[in-house]
Symmetry: C2
């Protein structure tokens, strides 16, 4: 085995960072500014039905307070609409605006283009092999990308 385990880990991180940075830049170019992955996660979860603060908190694995701040941003930027729940006076129901849905579509497209650009350079099979290997290892997309404290002792509280 030629490559050290640490190098492998850093390559994985580097790969993600390359995609994330390029995707972020591309989204900004297309008018979606200041978007971080957590925003995409949140929008996706809302679309999938997690449309209250507590539910989003559970889904995203962050605190309710963090959800309030995040959704506050998304609302201010026009991606999310908030309305009262008729049936439960405590709840505030979140939903995606047209702009929010457009962001999700654009994001998907952008990342597919980036993946295709990789495929052009090293071959589609190679790119697929990377995803297959990780999927075979049971790696699941971390819903829970706690930016701070990656390596900081406890990983899942």
């Amino acid at each position: 085995m030629t490559r050290s385990g640490a190098d492998l880990a850093l390559l994985l991180l580097g790969g993600f960072r390359a995609l994330a940075d390029a995707g972020s830049a591309e989204l900004a170019d297309r008018g979606y500014d200041k978007i971080r992955p957590i925003h995409d996660f949140a929008l996706r979860s809302i679309l999938a039905g997690a449309d209250t603060t507590a539910e989003l908190a559970r889904e995203l694995g962050i605190s309710k307070q963090a959800v309030i701040k995040t959704v506050g941003f998304l609302e201010a930027e026009g991606y999310v609409a908030v309305e009262a729940d008729e049936r439960d006076g405590r709840r505030r129901l979140y939903s995606l605006t047209d702009r929010g849905q457009a962001l999700l579509r654009t994001g998907e497209q952008v990342f597919n283009e980036l993946r295709d650009r990789w495929a052009q350079r090293i071959g589609a099979e190679q790119v697929e092999a990377v995803g297959d290997a990780l999927a075979d290892l049971g790696i699941r997309a971390p819903t829970h990308l706690d930016a701070a404290g990656w390596f900081s002792g406890s990983s899942s509280p």
Copy 2:
């Protein structure tokens, strides 16, 4: 192409996180507590000759102040020794203690074991293929793992 680009990105992140979390836990088990990747980076850079604050800051891509805090932790934990520079009164020279060197060795070993465990599960060629693909794409280990603000607009200031 079956897998979306976004999924691929998340798999890469998930792969890194899986290694990093397992490595962190394993290191903690072996008595190296509260260690984050940046600490390993810093130790490695010191060993490679970046033995002053300013030099480390350049090497790690973070501010001098952040270096001071980081090295302060490493010194307090006994991984790094600090002494005055005879020839330049401003400088403080960093060096690795025995414990610091032991941490680096242990870390390397731990991550190699994790890689081997992956290889047992999906085959060494598959694991190697992942590294090769990323390396072929010119992915470089990010020296510069700014935990905060991954996706936050500017990636490299």
